[in-house]
Amino acid sequence: MVSSEGDVAGSFRDPSGFVFRRDGVLYRQVNAVHADDYDHLMTSGLYDDLTRSGSLVAHEEASVEAEAPSKAHKVLRPEVVDFVSYPYEWCFGQLKDAALVTLDIQRRALGAGMSLRDASAYNIQFHRGRPLLIDTLSFEKLQPGRPWIAYRQFCQHFLAPLALMSYTDVRAGDLARIYLDGVPLDLAARLLPARARLRVPLLLHLFLHARGEKRYAGRSEEAGSDGRGGFTLQAFKGLIESLSGGIEKLTAHEQRSTWVGYYGEAAHYGPDSMSAKKELVSSLIADADPALVWDLGANTGDFSRLASDRGIKTIAFEVDRACVEENYRRVKASEEKNLLPLVLDLTNPSPAIGWDNRERMTVHQRGPADLVMALALVHHLAIANNVPLPRIAELLSSLGRRLIIEFVPKTDEMVQRLLATREDIFADYTRAVFEKDFERHFEIERVEEIAGSERVLYLMRAR
């Protein structure tokens, strides 16, 4: 769970300020060393421009005591995002949009005589369906002649993974989980096919950049000491346009997916039992009356939308990147504000990473949700992944206060398919045992059999 007091891990590297919580409220302290840059952001019109277009998080200046008063210039109270997500949980389209919004912000900052001094993908969060820069302290006054400080970081956090997800495999998005400061450029250059060099932006910002890094590493003595490097504003603009043009043209690498189109083609539900299931789930959601829903194994979000369309903040977790991609495409197409699709492997969920394993949170630490939905999921965990039912019950009870879960019996066609190629060692996989195991962690509130199938829906409350 997110602690309600003290410094927020993940913001400690920046000397310009930090994020802290007090009485459950999130604040950002601006340190005196950053006063000039912060004031310029506010007075130059850049803050208004960026918040109006929804690219930068809005804040108000709070009149509370600073957390570290000796260093403080101001304390801000930023608008809070509903759910913190990380780049390794985003599909290609989300990472691409986060990259493009970063470049657009940089372009507009240049127009206001400012520049981003970092370009970390972790500074972007998805808020009401769109990418948003949450670090108000990322702006500094443009220093004439100096190149973009955040160039390498931008290429590692955005360009390299996007190029890999486009030319090699979308699963390269998982690399962000290992490399906290983005994919090393020399690694990306080695993993990309030779034809990626035919794209000028990739040739320059990735391949040449990677070689230059090696060749000129440690040559700081070549640096002039007066800060006048002759990097013109036109060079800066050319750099940003080139990055943005290059990223704009990248598309997600095609992958064959078992899961996209799962519901469309699926023979395991007749149209009647499908609509019966939807009606039942809707009614169970209404009973639970949650403010935040986590839909686990959400596929392309058909059932998540039963919650999000009611105005409930909903996170649609799915292991299959192609499904998340399709779900995000739908969110964008209909400008949905309450649904956030994310990549998550429930059998190996996002760990805590970074310094002291505290910079980025586990999924658990970002919970619990008011309501967890696990529809057509339990047989995948129990049979395909050999997870015993008591453990599934225990995990789900720790993720949310209420649970809507579907039990899929062994006689079901989909379970039969899972069992077709393996020995049936799952003698305990029955409805009676399922109920007994779940009742140890939950109180069963409603049981609904889905008409036209042997599947059963439950609404439960965690004990």
């Binding site: 040559r219 640096a223 990097f231 800066f236 750099l239």
Partner: protein, 80 residues
């Protein structure tokens, strides 16, 4: 300008830029990497010049075709 033209420009200018690069001190809290800094100076110089040539070319074309392209010059297209 056509794609081949802009590619040739980028490469030529890149070679020139490497010869005249002076690297400023990076006064930053994240490490921009000295190698990355040097390469960015060169790439940026090439892309900046290529952007200028592109805009100049467009102005020239619009001069002869008699069309006004002020708006486009403000926002050069992202194509490169």
């Amino acid at each position: 300008m056509n794609t081949l033209g802009s590619r040739v420009t980028v490469v030529v200018v890149l070679v020139l830029a490497f010869s005249f690069t002076v690297i400023p001190v990076a006064d930053a809290y994240i490490d921009p990497g000295s190698g990355s800094f040097i390469i960015q100076m060169a790439i940026g110089a090439a892309l900046g010049l290529s952007l200028s040539i592109k805009l100049f070319w467009r102005r020239l074309v619009s001069l002869f075709s008699g069309r006004k392209q002020d708006q486009e010059e403000e926002n050069p297209p992202a194509d490169r």
